[in-house]
C-alpha cells in the first residue's frame, strides 16, 4: 500500500512537472536543494535570464510577479529560467539575502541583478527596458 501511494505521488508529480516548463520559459526545480546558497549562486551564474517569482509564468500567484512575466513576454524575452519561490521556504529566504532585496519578483540578466516589478515598470514607462534587454542580448528574433 505504501508502494502504491508512493507511485501515485510520483505520477502526480510527473504530470504537474509537465506544466511547469513551457514555450519560452524553463522551470528550475528547488524542491530538493541541500546547499541553498551554492545552488542560488550557481543558477544566477548559469542563467542568461533568471526570474525569481511567486507561482509560475502560466499561473503567477501575485500581481507583481505577473507583471514581470508580462514584461518578459512583451519584450519577446524567451527561454528564461524561473524559480517559483513558493516551492521552498528556505530558498525563498536565502534569495532575499543573496540579492539584498526583500521582495519578489527579482530579475537577473547575465548575473546582473536588475530589480523587481517597480524597476521594470519605471523602465518600461521611460523606454529604457527595451534597451536593457537588447544590451543583454536576450530578445528573441522570432
Amino acid at each position: 500500500m505504501l508502494a502504491r501511494s508512493l507511485w501515485k505521488a510520483t505520477l502526480r508529480r510527473f504530470s504537474e512537472e509537465s506544466h511547469k516548463s513551457g514555450p519560452g520559459f524553463v522551470y528550475i526545480d528547488t524542491t530538493n536543494v541541500f546547499n541553498p546558497i551554492g545552488f542560488i549562486d550557481e543558477i544566477v551564474n548559469k542563467s542568461k535570464v533568471l526570474l525569481f517569482m511567486k507561482g509560475t509564468p502560466e499561473s503567477p500567484q501575485c500581481g507583481f510577479s505577473n507583471y514581470a512575466v508580462q514584461a518578459l513576454n512583451y519584450y519577446n524575452v524567451k527561454n528564461y529560467s524561473y524559480v517559483n519561490i513558493l516551492e521552498n521556504p528556505t530558498i525563498r529566504e536565502e534569495v532575499k539575502k543573496y540579492s539584498d532585496w526583500p521582495t519578489y519578483p527579482q530579475l537577473y540578466l547575465n548575473k546582473e541583478f536588475i530589480g523587481g516589478c517597480d524597476i521594470l515598470s519605471d523602465m518600461h514607462k521611460n523606454g529604457t527596458l527595451k534597451d536593457l534587454f537588447e544590451k543583454h542580448g536576450v530578445v528573441s528574433k522570432d
Binding site: 500581481g63 526583500p102 521582495t103 530589480g115 523587481g116 516589478c117 517597480d118 523602465m123
Partner: protein, 99 residues
C-alpha cells in the same frame, strides 16, 4: 511597535533621510490579503537620488525603512525619481487580491 498611522511614520523617516520635494506614501494593504499594514506604495522625488541607479535608490529607501520591514510590512513599492525625472504621475500598482 504600534502599527497605527504607519503611512505617516514612514513619511517622517523618508523626509528626514531624503528631504524630498515630493513624497506620497499610500497604504495599499486593501489590495492584498495580508493584513492592514502589509503593503505600501511610495513615490519619492529628491535629488538625493541623482546619479544613483534604480536598484541603489530602491535599496536606500528599503534600508531607511528597516524597522518597518522588521515589524510586519510585507511589501513596499518604491518609485524614486530625481526632480528632473519627475512626471508628477503616480504609477498604478498591480492588483493582487485572492491570489
Amino acid at each position: 511597535m504600534i502599527m497605527r498611522f504607519l503611512s505617516k511614520r514612514i513619511e517622517e523617516v523618508l523626509r528626514v533621510k531624503f528631504t524630498p520635494e515630493v513624497l506620497e506614501v499610500v497604504n495599499e494593504s486593501q489590495l492584498h490579503d495580508k493584513g492592514e499594514n502589509s503593503h505600501f506604495k511610495i513615490l519619492i522625488v529628491s535629488d538625493a537620488f541623482k546619479n544613483k541607479s534604480l536598484v541603489q535608490r530602491h535599496r536606500e529607501v528599503n534600508s531607511s525603512l528597516k524597522e518597518f520591514w522588521d515589524n510586519g510590512v510585507h511589501s513596499i513599492s518604491v518609485h524614486a525619481k530625481t526632480l528632473e525625472e519627475n512626471t508628477g504621475r503616480i504609477p498604478k500598482s498591480p492588483y493582487c487580491k485572492n491570489k
